[in-house]
């Protein structure tokens, strides 16, 4: 079945440093989504990428979808303590409509 791998598992940064997490799928995706889970919270939808090579920005966050629609990345510029949490990618593209396969998540810690 479809597998989505995400690296790194953990990332510690100093406030102000940049951060990137990468996501790779074993199969071509129809779209990919990113979610953020704050400590003690639940996953919150951030963005969806659909087109090959698509790039979207949300303030300091930049999301990319690979040309082959099998990989994606999330880059945060100049991290802040409010960026702390777990970032998950989730791929869609199997036979079941609506079903997502989540990556393992990257736990981001930002040191002030």
């Amino acid at each position: 079945g479809q597998q989505v791998m995400q690296i790194p598992q953990y990332q510690h940064v100093q406030e102000g440093e940049d951060f990137t997490t990468y996501c790779n799928s074993s199969t071509t995706l129809s779209n990919i989504q990113w979610y953020k889970k704050r400590p003690g919270g639940h996953p919150v939808f951030l963005i969806q990428l659909v087109k090959s090579g698509e790039v979207k920005k949300q303030k300091r966050l930049t999301f990319q979808f690979g040309e082959a629609k099998k990989n994606s990345s999330l880059h945060i510029t100049a991290t802040q303590t409010t960026d702390v949490g777990t970032y998950f990618c989730a791929g869609a593209g199997g036979t079941s409509y609506g079903k997502l396969t989540f990556g393992q998540g990257t736990i981001l810690t930002v040191h002030p």
Binding site: Q33, A92, G98, K99, F102, Q104
Partner: protein, 114 residues
């Protein structure tokens, strides 16, 4: 986005017992999903629950262990049956935004089985 509530928020249960988790949405939705997040793990889809049809279970999950009800478009339940310590996990329901793959999650139920 939909507002989703789950009950209970947490529970401690003895092995061999069952727990039913409720998921309530403030609007009608077609697709609802149940996930499990074990400690240190990602979100694993248990089943998809669409109103008017039987739940579709993912590999490794069976109806006898995780029966699901979806009586209407705003409510669903997941039962964790005959629990063992390995069932200790956070259980989350989510709803799909119609026409998209976007999902919105409930706050989760933290289950500890002793």
């Amino acid at each position: 986005s939909a507002v989703i509530s789950q009950k209970p928020s947490r529970d401690i249960c003895q092995r061999g017992t069952s727990l039913t988790i409720q998921c309530q949405v403030d609007s009608q939705v077609t697709m609802m999903f149940w996930y499990r997040q074990q400690p240190g793990q990602s979100l694993t889809l248990i089943a998809t629950a669409n109103q008017g049809s039987e739940a579709t279970y993912e590999s490794g999950f069976v109806i006898d262990k995780f029966p699901i009800s979806r009586p209407n478009l705003t409510f669903s339940t997941l039962t964790v049956s005959n629990m063992s310590p390995e069932d200790s996990s956070i259980y989350l329901c989510s709803v799909g935004r119609d026409g998209t793959y976007e999902q919105y999650f409930g706050p989760g139920t933290r289950l500890t089985v002793t």
